[in-house]
Amino acid sequence: MPRTLKNVVFYLVLALMALAFFAPFYFMVVGAFQENPTNTPGDLFPTDGWTLQNVASINERISLVRSLANSLVFALGVLAGTLTFGLLAGYALARLQWRGRTSLFVVMLGVQMVPFQLLMIPLYVQVASYYQLGDTYAGMILPFLINTAAVFIFRQFFRALPESIFEAARIDGAGELRVLWSVAIPMVKPAIATVVLITFIGPWNEFLWPFLITKDASIQPLAVALANFISNAARAEANPNGVILAGACALALPVVILFCLFQKHFRPSDIGAGVKG
């Protein structure tokens, strides 16, 4: 086969694969605004039947504004914890000599291997009974407060900085916190962008833990509220498919848009470093 033809076939196959990954999103967005989402391929490109009723219907069942706000508080809480404590821990692991540093690193590697679900029952007992944090934001946030993958990424970036700039800052009389705040952190801004993106996505999409720890609908994040709607109330709707898709859009779009805007910070090497340590 000639080279150009080979290339065309290659791109075509890859494009078809990409389509298989993207098609359900098209179905979701179009169906969310249809009076009756199609089940036949012939009507995949609808010309009429557009409506906003599905959004209104899902909003009647689960207050979209309130549950989106809950999701936001949950995700931002995790983000704040990870940025504050993760930067400190990453810096300490990368640039400072202290006893226990190697052990901490080994423990972190182990943590990546423990399935969260084994911890689920004891965490539930701890958070709900001991600390009385059921139906609170704090209870939702606590198990995710510091993202270990983010600590790895910060460590990796701090290690890559030259020691000489730290020495220079110390000779100029800067204290350790000052060195971290004014010298080290500004130099790892790309890592911060990566960490913000991956740390935000996790809690925004998380289902199991907030589902366990929140019974009160007024504090549930959208993922939990929507799941409850799908498994309980959807059947009562006149257009259940459209309403489910409208809810799915409300949950998916903020993160998909955020991801598309910042996708250049979603770099293989950075995130690979976070997993491999």
Partner: protein, 292 residues
């Protein structure tokens, strides 16, 4: 004195302390507690009430292992892993190589493959439920080839359908890991292989596959862990692990027994058994990917 106790820069310990406390409270303590609960007769107590818990040895493990629903859930998860893990490793390696080779529209292609990974499972489950329902679009395309009963309510197809969903959803993440690994494979190897007359398939098999071996191990272990944690998909996609338990998973049973039915002791035993299983599978993966 302080230097001898805490090292040359004790400030490091001070600023890492919150993270160390976090690991102890959220990881180490619950891990030990889960193992402890699994050997005791344990019920939830009202706040502030302390109960005596009786040591029961392996009774919870016996209860778990002899329960046919638990046995079925472990068989189900093996079926899941048998479909999900090989598909994940092969597809993500091949697609990452393809994405690494292209020079045009790279960002657009990558975004298309990553988007399911960054999207909430609950959203995508809502979409797949409709796509794969009895009168869904997949069946209307398949026509007479559509399975009956349909995908998610079919004994034999429910778990494979879930395995396909999870493979599709997670693939972007593993593609990302392979892309990182491919950057470290020297370009010259491919060039000299080409001049020696090696075709694309030969180059993939003899340079790419061995070149990303350590990432393959990570992908194997992570996909086993993710698979063993399966909960949301059987809970929502197949209505609590149906039909008739054909798609239930160990974690779904941990939830049902531990939190719905108030038997955290048996639930913890299931969790410990699950982790032992994951450990064994990871060990086998390590052996399989070792350089011979």
């Amino acid at each position: 004195m302080i230097t001898r106790l805490f090292g040359r820069q004790p400030f490091g310990l001070a600023i890492a302390a919150p993270y160390i406390v976090f690991l102890a409270v959220v990881m180490a303590y619950p891990l030990a507690y889960a193992v402890w609960i699994s050997f005791y007769d344990y019920v939830f107590a009202a706040p502030g009430v302390s109960l005596d818990h009786e040591f029961v040895g392996l009774a919870n493990y016996r209860a778990a292992l002899t329960d046919p629903r638990v046995q079925q859930s472990f068989v189900n998860i093996v079926v899941f892993l048998a479909i999900n893990v090989p598909l994940t490793v092969s597809l993500s390696m091949v697609l990452a190589s393809a994405l690494n080779a292209i020079t045009r529209w790279t960002a657009a292609f990558r975004v298309a493959f990553y988007v399911p990974y960054v999207t909430a499972s609950v959203s995508l489950i809502g979409v797949w439920m409709l796509l794969f329902s009895e009168d869904g679009i997949v069946n209307s395309i398949l026509g007479p080839l559509a399975p009956s009963p349909s995908w998610l309510v079919n004994d034999a197809l429910a778990m494979p359908s879930i395995a396909l969903f999870v493979t599709w959803k997670q693939l972007g993440f593993y593609i990302l890991l392979y892309l990182a690994a491919l950057q470290a494979v020297p370009r010259e190897l491919y060039e000299s292989a080409s001049t020696d007359g090696a075709g694309a398939l030969q180059r993939f098999w003899h340079i790419t596959v061995p070149g990303v071996r350590s990432t393959t191990l990570i992908v194997l272990i992570l996909s086993i862990i993710v698979g063993a944690n399966l909960f949301t998909e059987p809970y929502l996609l197949t209505n609590g692990g149906g039909p008739d338990g054909a798609s239930s998973s160990p974690v779904l049973l941990i939830y049902q027994k531990g939190i719905q039915q108030g038997n955290p002791d048996v639930a913890s035993a299931i969790g410990v058994l699950l982790v032992i299983g994951v450990g064994l599978l990871s060990l086998i993966s390590t052996r399989l990917t070792k350089e011979s």
